[in-house]
Amino acid sequence: MSTYGWKSIFGFTFVQTAKSKAFKISSVIIIILVFGMALLAGLLPAIIGGNSSAGDSDIVIDGEKPLDRIYIADTTGITTAADYEKVFATLGLTPVFSGEQSDCAALIEQIKGETRSLLVTISETEDGYNIYAARPADSSVSSDTANSCGSAVQQVFNLTRLTKEGLNGEQITAVGKTISFSQSIAGEPTENDFAFFVKMIVPMLSSVALFILIFSYGQLVAQSIAQEKTSKVMELLLTSVRPLAVVIGKILAMGSLALLQFIMIILSGVLGMCVSMPLTGMMVANSQDASAMTQQLTAEIGKAFADFSPISIIMIFVIFIIGFIFFALIAGLIGASVSRMEDLNAAMQPLAIIGVLGFYLAYFPSAMGGEAGIMSTISYYLPISSPFALPSALLTGAMDIPQALLAVAVLCAFTVLMALLVARVYEQIILHNGNRLKLGDIIGIAKNK
């Protein structure tokens, strides 16, 4: 069967579609959206960490002075008024300090009746120490100010305590270093909240992106063929090329454009993450906790990407291409089966249902953090779901390369079968005019040919 001319059809379809407003607008939207999402994902820990931070040693003043008076009551006797003078001098405050004999209850009562005052008490507990900040009831002191002042007192108290214990500067710095914690099943990669986040979100997003790309471009193949058929351009084309060349040219052109947008998504995502890192650094330069969160998230994402072998990356692209061809072949057949554009949506409905079913089959195990064993397995080997499920499984290491190769082989086999069916019936239906051909009609044509 001659496929002469598919390159010209590919070139023309690719150029004309790429020049279309729809493609340009959708590409810009995708780039902005993915870049924004990646940027936000990178900044979010910093924003959250920054807001809830209780570890800043410097008190930041935005605009007017946040307090008129600060009381510090250290019932442990570890610190003195002098220890706090330098820190609170930046606010133009001299702390009203009371030591071991402090009557905290009386001070709290006093604060209740004052305005723009803050009380910070330090007491010893069975486990260690407790620092408590009490604000007046009139909302003249914000929670953020209380947090900032409390954390400044905490830093000073800790430093003084450790110094009194006989530690030098280096030892104190060493003690202050952040220690992260992780756990996993023996022999498996370590897990923590960030790892779980990455493990859950990345597959979900990749499933959604793949579904949208594969399905929407498959729809475009159907639309393009139906348009040529209903506008009668097809008759002109068929004097020069065989119908199969038309399908091949169109599928490859649309597939290339989908691949282009897929690459745009990846690059925009990576760029968003790259841009978010220095921004995060600027936002949380003085916040150890927020910085640690961001670093940990970045590390998990980096680890996820670093874990990819070149073969995984190649396989993801291969799966995308084969998956697209599988759906586009069906879409092309549907496009050829209608004689009027208004019939196309109705004709595409069964494929839409199958596609959505496949997507959810791939999406749910991802959303469940890979806990749905049987469902995952089915989604890897079923051709309607495997194009959406396999890339995320490879991304998260949920399946190893030999398993993935087997799943790709199954997808390939179904795609070849679909291609044979399309080749068998396409020439028969491409010039069909009249009522929309039903599945039974197409099967009948395939049998009778």
């Binding site: 001659s2 002469y4 001319g5 010209s8 059809i9 023309f12 004309q16 040529e228 506008s231 009668k232 351009v233 097809m234 008759e235 002109l236 084309l237 068929l238 004097t239 020069s240 090329v241 065989r242 020439e427 028969q428 010039l431």
Partner: protein, 307 residues
């Protein structure tokens, strides 16, 4: 050098769209495929072009199976089709490229045909911005751009104004002079009579009449008599056994069974001193042959369809 269509047929389930059809173009010229709507003309054309698979038969071009993909074949489809949103020159370059033309050839040919069909200035327009007539011209360019040896024109003049119809006719005449093989399907019988040597009349998928147009006409003989006189000649016609087929203010038309009848009427008119203004004895027109054959075929098949 010839195009030979041998016993091609097409079946859709129990429905026969085209019964075995054969014809041959031994020499360059125009072959007419005529027929009522749904007679099987487009099916035959699509089979010749290889767009439709056939149930039987073959199409030979210079003795070998015709492959429009590898041979230069031009086709102007009955239902015109262009991409409405794309520029005219981009579409034509694409169609020409699919015919295997090189870039230089394409530009040269496009320039020639844009001038010849008076399309200058429309190159960068989108198809939807053009009038129907101009869109048809663009389609004609698409059919002729590769200078095909075999040209298939399905209703080439339908929808054209008289000026553009004359333009298209002059282009077809040029193609005939350039010794091209042309298959034309057209419902305008005078156009067929102007261009075609041989014809096939199809009806319900079967050829009801085939052959050389002149010979077909000759075989019918001169059976149409038109007379215009300055007086009533109906009694004279009745004496000759003639009843008028059509009475118009301009003339009386008779269908005669032999030329002697016409001569007898003429003699009686002259003898009766009725002034004779017009007297014509002629062969049937293609239109008349067409209608007669379709009616006869329907009668034989027991159909009562209207044409």
């Amino acid at each position: 050098m010839s195009l030979e269509v041998k016993e091609i047929s097409k079946q859709y389930g129990a429905f026969t769209a085209l019964h075995p059809l054969s014809f041959k173009l031994s020499e360059p010229g125009v072959y007419a495929l005529l027929g009522t709507n749904g007679a099987g003309k487009t099916t035959a054309i699509r089979i010749i072009l290889g767009m439709l698979s056939r149930n039987s038969g073959e199409v030979l071009w210079h003795g070998k199976a015709l492959s429009p993909v590898t041979e230069k074949v031009g086709y102007l489809a009955e239902e015109r089709g262009l991409y409405p949103k794309y520029k005219i020159n981009e579409q034509l370059r694409y169609f020409a490229k699919l015919r295997g033309m090189q870039k230089d050839e394409i530009e040269k040919s496009m320039k020639y045909w844009f001038n010849r069909l008076e399309l200058r200035g429309y190159e960068d327009k989108r198809a939807e911005q053009l009038s129907k007539g101009n869109q048809q011209k663009v389609q004609m360019v698409a059919a002729l751009i590769s200078d095909p040896e075999l040209l298939i024109l399905d209703e080439p003049l339908s929808g054209l104004d008289p000026v553009n119809a004359d333009l298209f006719k002059s282009v077809i005449h040029e193609q005939i002079e350039k010794k091209k093989f042309i298959i034309m399907s057209c419902h305008q019988m005078p156009v067929i009579e102007e261009f075609c040597n041989d014809i096939t009349i199809l009806h319900h998928g079967s050829a009801v009449l085939q052959g050389n147009l002149n010979e077909i006409k000759k075989s019918y003989g001169r059976v149409n008599l038109s007379v215009k006189c300055d007086g009533d000649i109906l009694p004279l016609a009745a004496q000759c056994g003639l009843a008028p087929e059509e009475i118009t203010p301009d003339k009386l038309s008779f269908k005669i069974s032999n030329e002697a009848q016409a001569h007898q009427l003429l003699k009686k008119i002259v003898e009766s001193d009725i002034p004779l203004i017009h007297y014509e004895l002629r062969e049937p027109t293609l239109h008349e042959i067409f209608v007669e054959n379709i009616e006869r075929a329907d009668k034989e098949a027991g159909r009562s369809d209207e044409i």
